[in-house]
């Protein structure tokens, strides 16, 4: 069964993909566990500020696991405190709490403007989000870590599994739908 919701379809990730607990800012009282990466190969370019892992890359971030072929980290420029970007490429798989997202590329980026803080993971290249209840495809899937929402954009295809133990009614809990025209 398929539904087409127009151009933008968003829902609370807390319902399906609890990445939020990892995305929440760490507190000073409870030091967060580190993010561990294993790979076949590591390259560091001190002049470009690049760290590149390649070959069977596996990232463990709390309960979230990411597998990919190449992971590129753009280190902070001098004076900055956070990485500029993290890009996972080649058969990217994100897994957590029984949910799984796949894509050819996942881009994490962070920026602050006078009007907004952008802190997002963008999945591109045939991205698919699968949960026990639903499968969502779109040209782009974007996880907004600030708003804690997952947005599917363009050519959205959603498949519900009525027979699943937690088959959602429509609209199912936690989901919001945006019909606003694209800007």
């Amino acid at each position: 069964m398929k539904h087409f919701f127009g151009t933008i379809f968003s829902f609370s990730l807390t319902t399906f993909l609890a990445i939020a607990q990892n995305a929440a800012p760490a507190t000073d009282k409870t030091p967060a566990p580190p993010i561990n990466v294993t790979a076949d190969r590591f390259e560091f370019d001190s002049k470009k500020g690049l760290v590149i892992h390649s070959g069977n890359v596996k990232v463990t971030d709390g309960e979230m696991k990411i597998a990919c072929g190449v992971l590129t980290v753009k280190l902070p420029v001098e004076g900055a405190s956070r990485v500029e970007s993290i890009i996972a490429e080649q058969d990217v798989v994100l897994e957590q709490s029984g949910s799984r997202a796949t894509a050819e590329k996942a881009i994490y980026s962070f920026s602050v403007t006078p009007t907004a803080t952008n802190d997002v993971i963008e999945l591109r290249g045939n991205p698919v989000l699968e949960t026990p209840e639903v499968t969502i495809r779109g040209d782009v899937l974007i996880y907004d870590r600030v708003l804690d929402t997952f947005v599917a954009d363009k050519n959205i295809r959603t498949t519900f599994r009525p027979g699943s133990a937690k088959a959602p009614s429509f609209p199912f809990p936690g989901m919001s739908r945006t019909n606003a025209p694209k800007k």
Binding site: A23, P25, A39, E43
Partner: protein
Amino acid sequence: MLAQETVGGTVTDFKMPVHDTQNRLRSLVTGKSAKTVGGLTVLRLEGLRLETYGTNGALDLVAEAPECIFDIKTKTASSAGALKAEMADQRLSISGVGFEYRQDEGTLVVSNQVRTMLRRELIMPRAKP
């Protein structure tokens, strides 16, 4: 190349700094001892330590290995052995086996069994108490 002492073909306290065009120190390769193994330009270093520096002079990355081969002409350190490296602020650390460091280019490649630890503060800000 700087050396504090020479004993029978072995140099102790080997140092190879690289500066940029503005004479800022950008990297430093040191070894507790260095012994020629191929002509006069290829050395076997023991107690290797690599340091890279930012343009502001701050220490950026430190890497250490028990030993390596260092080519003075190409300023390249390489080994099939283990290496550990850490950013100066300790937010990223790495270990692996088999490496090559090109001092002029500022690139370090670790080719096997790579394990990296990223502290979360490198990725996201800490919440205000």
